[in-house]
Amino acid sequence: MDILNILISDSFWAASLRIATPLIFGVLGALICERSGVLNLGIEGIFVAGAMAGWMAVWFGAGLWGGLLVAASVGALFGLLHAVLTVPLGLSQHVSGLGITMLATSVSYFAYRTALPNLSSPPRIEPFQPLDIPIISDIPFIGAVLSQQTAMTWLALFLVLLVWWVLERTPLGLAIRAVGDNPDAVDAQGLSVYALRIGAVMAGSALMALGGAFLTMSAFDSFFFGMVNGRGWIAIALVIFASWRPGKALLGALLFGAFDAFQVRLQTEVGAFVPSQIFLMAPYVLSIIALVIVARRAEYPRALLKPWFKGQR
């Protein structure tokens, strides 16, 4: 199999989309937070919490969609904590976010260990299955790629559209974009800066948690430690790469997924000559390179990282 063969195989593109899915959730979530002016470095921990909570809910019989609801709620809850610390209290968004990551990660691990002590092999659930939609699966090539995806990938694609619509086409999205650009403008119109930002961070965090839940409920069927493995941080880099736009975020996540899927396949080709770690490193190196390339041109939301207090102009 040569490189061209990899690129035209539907299994490669199906894998790309699968790898991209949690990132789509993560990038969208981070994007909503940052558009409102709040950096959420809690993302890595919220991924873990979403993965654990969603899986655990299913394990205890909540059903797959119930599990997603639980994951999203847990994410929103950690988002609320981050928002309270950084929005009305105006504390360092960097440090608070890292604190949320530590807290969410340790709570998840502790809860998992406490709820399921003394397990030698990780317990499994019945995860989301590929969704075979009759008309779509008949489309050549694309049908083959899409029919290998679960409902969660469809959900992620739908959310790209929804987030784009809300941000660009509705009064709520306008208010969120404005609060991330100049909170005084929002305040002058009698809207609550605090409510908008807290709401945006909670919604964004819920999406991040869904990204985590995808790992335990669709990509795999069990929860294990270290499974998020920096995906949250990669999402943070991708948001900058996507210049805070949902469409570009999808593109970035897909490119990233394609690269990752490609390197896995390349590894089987040349694995004998190159240490496997080179391939493992690639996604992180790629993220840094992407960041360096776009950094100068990046137009950050103007109020990002800047605390705002009511009545202080």
Binding site: P171, L174, R177, N182, D184, A185, R302
Partner: protein, 518 residues
């Protein structure tokens, strides 16, 4: 500028009141910011609210808008039928709902959003599934036609000129059905031409039944465009006069209590050239930050004033002399020597003292102590350090001496600078600049935001430095300040420097608007 009273005060008496402030008082600590203020506004009236910095104008308007809760008193606003209702105090939303619109001095616009989006913001229910842009555009176009206010609706605010942004702010208020419009120092950022247009627009709006409160400290504008003038001093309403009966001298006396003493200033022959700019060109990302082919020579014993509306290249000029940017072409000489490096340390070494425009942003490090801020520009001097270790004792003694000499008051030399008042921070910066006896002093908006006392102190120090032989480049938006202090005046417009051959107000005003001097 059109001189003359367009609106006779005739009608104001017959019209109904739309707003009345009753006995409003507000105390901050030991300061009575507003003392039992009574004020009524009639329909279709332009009321000028006049007063020095710190007279209590902003406090009064902040109470009207619900940003502050008054200690006592009440506010009544008329509804559509003209019936007066008490306003819920302390709630901005209530003020907006009652039809009060405000255009702040610092615009509250989101720069990355279009004008239309900025106007729409907050006007619709947040949770509707899409904007009603077509309808909104129609309504805005109608308002534009009625009032003559115009602004490009689909451009991002960041791309617009200051005048256009202000019009967007006013359109925003009108779109939200404001019946009472408060304009806080609206002409501070405008050229005389733009200001004229603004007043024409205001005239059109008042014909539509809108009432306007117009905050200013520029006497001639107030005289030309208002129907009634109310003067605040030290938190008290000290005078109310129908514009037709007023003149500049009368209101000036009301504002300051007595005739303003002119700054004592002796004539002095200029000495040798200190700073010499030759065809200096800076190409910034836009005209605000550009300078084209500027020639400027400043001599010892001389103050050169740069007049102009902000955003016409002043910041490019200031930044290059501060060493923050490198010119694209042309040369800068200090004391006859051509400069080759354009960095802050190089400028300091050449003998340039810098009083920055934004003292909080560029002048001080708020979290660090007074004593550290006083030595921050000369960290390699041997009285400050040996082998990289700070001489703490010297630094403290030095700080005590300077604070005493320049009357910097605060909690102490080891406390953080941000705890000092604006005037004391500016005095600290003056102390730091003057201590090194610079050959050239760049004074960029040196009195902005200061009260009269502190501003007078700054002017006195600048004149003293001039007497002692420094050359001074004074950049100011306040034409009165430039005329009072400068020996020679240049006007900056769109990045071009032009000398004003005489210090005539009208000529300079026209030059500031970009018209060639005759």
């Amino acid at each position: 500028m059109v001189q003359g009273r367009i609106y006779p005060a005739l009608f104001t008496m017959e019209k109904t009141s739309v707003l009345s402030l009753n006995n409003l008082s507000k105390r901050f600590g030991s300061v009575l910011a507003n003392d039992a203020i009574n004020l009524t506004l009639k329909q279709g009236e332009v009321l000028a609210l006049l007063g020095e910095n710190g007279a209590g104008k902003t406090t009064l308007m902040n109470m009207l808008f619900g940003h502050y809760v008054p200690d006592s008193g009440s506010i009544d606003v008329a509804d559509e039928t003209g019936k007066m209702h008490p306003l819920t105090l302390g709630h901005p939303q209530a003020a907006l709902d009652a039809g009060i619109g405000m255009v702040h001095q610092h615009f509250t616009l989101a720069e990355n959003l279009s004008s239309l989006d900025n106007i729409l913001l907050g006007s619709e229910s947040l949770f509707s599934w899409r904007h009603k842009r077509k309808k909104a555009r129609k309504k805005i176009t109608a308002i534009m036609q009625r009032t003559g206010l115009s602004a490009p609706l689909d451009e991002k605010i960041g791309q617009l000129s200051v005048g256009e942004r202000q019009r967007v702010e006013i359109l925003k208020a009108l779109y939200h059905d404001a019946k009472i419009l408060v304009l806080d120092e609206p002409t501070a950022v405008l050229t005389p031409n733009e200001a004229d247009t603004l007043f024409e627009n205001i005239a059109a709006m008042t014909r539509e039944g809108l009432s306007v409160i117009f905050i200013s400290h520029k006497l001639h504008e107030v005289l030309a465009f208002s129907q009634r003038i109310v003067v605040l001093r030290h938190g008290k309403l000290v005078g109310e006069i129908i514009t037709a009966d007023a003149n500049e001298r009368k209101i000036a006396q009301m504002m300051v209590g007595a005739d303003t003493p002119a700054t004592p200033r002796q004539a002095m022959p200029p000495g040798a050239p200190v700073l010499d700019l030759k065809s200096l060109t800076i190409k910034g990302e836009n005209t605000r930050n550009s300078l084209y082919d500027a020639d400027l020579c400043i001599h010892s014993h001389e103050i050169v004033g740069i007049a102009g509306v902000s955003g016409n290249g002043q910041s490019a000029l200031a930044r290059v002399i501060s060493g923050l940017i490198t010119p694209n072409s042309g040369s800068i000489s200090m004391n006859g020597e051509k400069l080759t490096r354009f960095t802050p340390p190089a400028m300091l070494k050449a003998g340039v003292g810098r009083i920055p425009e934004d003292r909080h942003h560029d002048g001080i490090i708020g979290a660090m102590s007074v004593s550290e801020n006083l030595i921050i520009e000369r960290l390699s001097d041997s009285d400050v350090q040996t082998y990289g270790f700070l001489k703490q004792h010297n630094i403290a003694t030095h700080a005590k001496e300077l604070c005493a000499a320049y009357d910097v008051r605060g909690p102490g030399i080891e406390s953080a600078v941000r705890l000092l008042s604006g005037g004391n921070i500016q005095k600290l910066i003056l102390a730091r600049v003057f201590e090194s006896s610079p050959h050239l002093i760049l004074a960029n908006q040196p009195t902005r935001g200061l009260d009269l006392g502190a501003a007078g102190e700054v002017a006195r120090r600048l004149l003293e430095a001039r007497r002692d032989g420094a050359g001074i480049l004074l950049i100011s938006e306040d034409l009165d300040e430039v005329l009072a202090l400068a020996d020679r005046v240049f006007v900056i417009h769109n990045g071009h420097l032009t000398i004003a051959h005489n210090k005539d107000r009208t000529t300079i005003g026209l030059m500031m608007a970009g018209e060639k001097a005759c």
